[in-house]
């Protein structure tokens, strides 16, 4: 690892937290490092012993020397702890100059301790009494506590800014590929878990590892190399997404979820153009998806379709997108006169009018176009050329079912939307949007065509949603007005806000979380809306920039943060230098 001449230092911990950790850690400080190592070994050793007396809890944890799913997680945690410990002192100490190993160990120690306590409690509750907890679990718990106490005794050191880390390109690319592979197999593995509790534990653990690596500064570095090797990342991501159905072995259950996630994510990305880039809050966005879906349904071969003309599907897609974009123009036109919350309310009213109108155009209260509340059912599967989307196909001996077919089509749509999004974001138009978002009056004064750009954001976003809508009609088989209620718009907004306004990765993550959780966790399904309502409130309160924050956006929400401002400026300078070189 070569170092650049000037070394910027950042402190991972703020003063208050250090003092708390230090108070716990001071007594063990002299032998903290061996303590962490010993804790990791004990934690792993416990995983090879039986944790539970019965084999009915959390999969099967009752067999010695045959770790179950949850035990494997703790082994991974132990390995991570050893790696970080060796970074702090030992063979990996050069890596330790770059990553905040002590901080990471503290997070990891706290996390594994809580995790083990949770597992023991779960075994106790589900098997009826702590008697059923076997020694293995207690041993692992002791190991986790040792890591926690030991990590408290370590001294967090200043680590170098990963912006100045220059590794050979091939190593950086290899890291990206490895991370993507982990994502692919991790997703396949996680989706395969039937038991809701084990699923939650795995998700919790993933979150813990991600948080540990974030605190260590690993993801800052990943973000930087992802910037440098953007092409590799894009290509790899496409490959991962493309290969996903092949890991499912013909099972439709997960593919059905995956297609729903894709439709949702595509729409959310469209919304992200309006909200994330242009900063215009649209609370009726689901209407655009609905417009596309209704167009798709009305021109389909369904016996209930209200229009006799059955054009080629490609034509329908374009037509649906255009109808949707026209609606977008209409809804966007008030932006000439209103902005801010008033605009949000106007869009909300438009969305409601769309839903009510679709429910009324049944031949009784208006022309017969949509069959009113009954909607248009029995939409046949898509047929492009001789390829029928309803049939199963065999590729390399792996069965691909109906949902896999739609998955591939939706993948193409999502790829188009992502391309449009990123190209727009990096163009003159995107910079115009940012200017409008930050200060509309200033932007106008600088000669930005604010009205045109705002209108374009609405129409463009609507165009993309309409495209996805036409496919959704065939995918869902029926189209009814109650699929397009205000809550759905709010749900889309939640995906954008949760993930990170203005980012692609963030919105993809947000959409996946919001769609996957209720599908996998039945007990969450009923509380889904409650949770997401509270989530919106908490996100706005504690992390308004979302899980994956674009740095510039973060700065908009934390204007007083001087350090962040310097950092954003520095990143820009380095990018400029690299662009020149």
């Amino acid at each position: 690892m070569s170092t650049s001449t000037d070394i910027e230092t950042t402190y991972a911990d703020d003063a208050e937290k250090v003092s708390l950790w230090d108070r716990i850690g001071r007594p063990v400080a002299p032998f903290a490092w061996p303590m962490v190592l010993a804790g990791a070994v004990i934690l792993a050793a416990g995983c090879f012993l039986s944790w539970s007396y019965t084999d009915e809890v959390l999969g099967d944890l009752s067999i010695d020397f045959y770790p179950g799913a949850v035990q494997n997680l703790m082994i991974i945690a132990a390995v991570l702890a050893v790696i970080f410990a060796l970074m702090y002192r030992g063979p990996f100490s050069r890596l330790g100059e770059w990553l905040a190993s002590a901080t990471a160990l503290r997070v990891l120690g706290l996390g594994t301790t809580v995790f083990m306590a949770l597992v023991i409690a779960l075994i106790g509750v589900q098997a009826g009494g702590l008697v059923n907890v076997m020694p293995g679990a207690w041993i692992s718990f002791v190991g986790a506590v040792l890591i926690l106490l030991g990590a408290a005794g370590l001294t967090p050191r200043a680590s170098k800014d990963p912006l100045h880390a220059h590794l050979p390109s091939w190593l950086e690319i290899l890291t990206i590929v490895a991370l993507l592979a982990i994502v692919l197999f991790g997703a396949a593995y996680v989706l395969d878990i039937e038991d809701g509790t084990v699923f939650s534990l795995v998700v919790l653990f993933t979150g813990l590892v991600a948080f540990t690596l974030t605190r260590a500064g690993f993801f800052t570095w990943v973000g930087i190399i992802a910037q440098t090797h953007r092409r590799v990342l894009m290509l790899g991501a496409v490959a991962v997404a493309f290969l996903f159905p092949f890991t499912q072995d013909g099972s439709d259950a997960n593919m059905s979820i995956a297609t729903q996630v894709l439709i949702f994510a595509s729409t959310a990305l469209g919304l992200n153009i309006v909200v994330g880039l242009a900063g215009l809050l649209d609370l009726g966005y689901i209407a655009f998806l609905g417009a596309g879906a209704y167009v798709g349904a009305m021109f389909s071969h369904s016996a209930f379709a209200t229009i006799g003309w059955k054009p080629n599907f490609l034509l329908v897609v374009i037509f649906g997108a255009l109808v949707s974009a026209t609606l977008g123009l209409i809804i966007g036109s008030p932006t000439l006169r209103v902005s801010g919350d008033y605009l949000a309310i106007v869009t909300l009213a438009f969305g409601e009018i769309f839903r009510l109108a679709m429910g009324n155009l049944d031949g009784q209260d208006g022309p017969r176009l949509t069959n009113g509340p009954n909607g248009i059912p029995a939409i046949p599967d898509l047929e492009i050329g001789s390829f029928n989307f309803g049939e199963t196909h065999e590729v390399f001996g792996i069965t691909l079912g109906r949902f896999a077919n739609y998955y591939f089509l939706l993948l193409v749509v999502a790829a188009i939307i992502i391309t449009v999004f990123t190209r727009l974001n990096n163009s003159r138009i995107g910079r115009g949007w940012i200017a409008i978002r930050e200060d509309e009056k200033a932007a106008e004064a600088m000669g930005v065509n604010t009205f045109g750009l705002k209108l374009f954001a609405f129409a463009g976003g609507a165009f993309l949603a309409g495209m996805a809508g036409t496919i959704k009609a065939h995918h869902d088989v029926s189209v009814t007005p109650d699929q397009y209620i205000f809550l759905e718009s709010a749900f889309l907004l939640a995906a954008v806000v949760l993930g990170g306004m203005g980012t692609v990765a963030g919105v993809l993550i947000g959409a996946t979380i919001l769609k996957l959780m209720p599908e996998k966790l039945r007990f969450v399904a009923d509380y889904r809306l409650l949770i997401f309502g509270l989530l919106l409130v908490l996100m706005m309160r504690f992390r308004p920039e979302g899980l994956v924050a674009s740095k510039r956006r973060q700065l908009e929400f934390h204007e007083e943060d001087e350090e962040l401002a310097d950092r954003v400026e520095e990143v820009h300078l380095v990018e400029e230098q690299e662009a020149k070189a």
């Binding site: 008030p334 106007v346 509380y527």
Partner: protein, 307 residues
């Protein structure tokens, strides 16, 4: 003629309800320039508060003396929710970009609806609202125009609340404080007004009227529903904007105008696009037209930069 009068009566009833809720939007907006999007839910909580009071204390009683206690229960529920909401969700966001409080409000709105649906026994479907002697029962009839007893209660409640509110704002120390804060927050603070307290009072006042509206709605419809706040809140917001948001008289006028307009649209728009199926569409269309072409409303309000 009877037809027109009948629609006017219907419209004024509906309008009184809108006006009661609209005051909450307007009072809060006038003071912190915040659209409390979750205000419709405060109204819904009020209705459920009254219902819970009745179910817990007076199950089976229909005597009139129960009503004031029900209203008290409604007010306690609404005001608590509104004040807690202000304290934990909105106050930390003062000074944040405009998008933030609006998204928070949507979150609160959804969370409150769901909380009632999940945790109030039986709230997954509509719950019958108790019928109270005198204020409900056989409709009254004047010259061929039928007037529901609950409608009389609603209009009466609006008149009394409006009078009380007027007195409060113009003749009490706190009311003068509210006027000062809405005029200029910083100067008011320099003059020794406790701005935080005034803001809490604004939320509480709005919740107070919304709770009364909740009871009135329960009596009018004879049932309550966890979803009732969304549409009512949106309509009331329309009313507030129609009258000029931030202007308390405006909210009352706007509510009545919107109610009458809606009733007339149901009764007198001919052909397929008339009738009750399209009434909400007309209300929303009115909302858009007002927001776009006359955002300062009928009575006018201070023009605020809406960027």
């Amino acid at each position: 003629m009877t037809d027109l009068l009948q629609q006017l009566v219907n419209g004024l009833t509906l309008g009184s309800l809108y006006a009661l809720i609209a005051v909450g939007y307007t009072v809060v907006y006038g003071i912190v320039q915040l659209i409390n999007f979750a205000h419709g839910e405060v109204f819904m909580i009020g209705a459920f508060g009254a219902l819970a009071t009745w179910t817990l204390l007076f199950q089976g009683t229909t005597a009139l003396w129960v009503l004031p206690i029900m209203i008290l229960g409604a007010v306690v529920a609404s005001v608590t929710v509104a004040v807690v909401m202000e304290r934990i969700a909105y106050r930390p966001l003062r000074g944040a970009p405009r998008l933030a409080p609006l998204i928070t409000a949507i979150g609160i709105s959804v969370a409150l609806q769901e909380a009632v649906r999940l945790f109030y026994p039986g709230a997954k479907s509509k719950i019958p609202f108790p019928q109270i002697d005198v204020v409900t029962g056989p409709a009254l009839s004047f010259a061929g125009v039928t007037v529901q007893r609950a409608a009389v209660f609603t209009v009466g409640a609006l008149l009394m609340s409006a009078a009380l509110l007027w007195w409060f704002v113009n003749h009490t120390r706190t009311g003068h404080g509210m006027q000062a804060v809405s005029e200029d927050k910083d100067t008011a603070r320099l003059m020794g007004v406790n701005v935080d307290r005034i803001i809490v009072i604004a939320f509480a006042l709005g919740a107070f009227l919304a709770a009364i509206a909740g009871v009135a709605q329960g009596l009018l419809n004879a049932n309550v529903d966890f979803r009732m706040g969304f549409l009512a809140g949106l309509k009331a917001f329309t009313a507030a904007v129609l009258g000029g948001i931030g202007n308390i008289q405006g909210a009352v006028v706007g509510g009545l105008v919107l109610g009458v307009a809606e009733a007339l649209a149901v009764g007198f728009i001919p052909g397929q696009f008339g009738g009750s199926a399209w009434k909400d569409v007309w209300a929303f269309a009115l909302l858009i037209i007002v927001l776009v072409f006359r955002p300062q409303g009928i009575l006018g309000a201070r023009v605020v930069d809406r960027a």
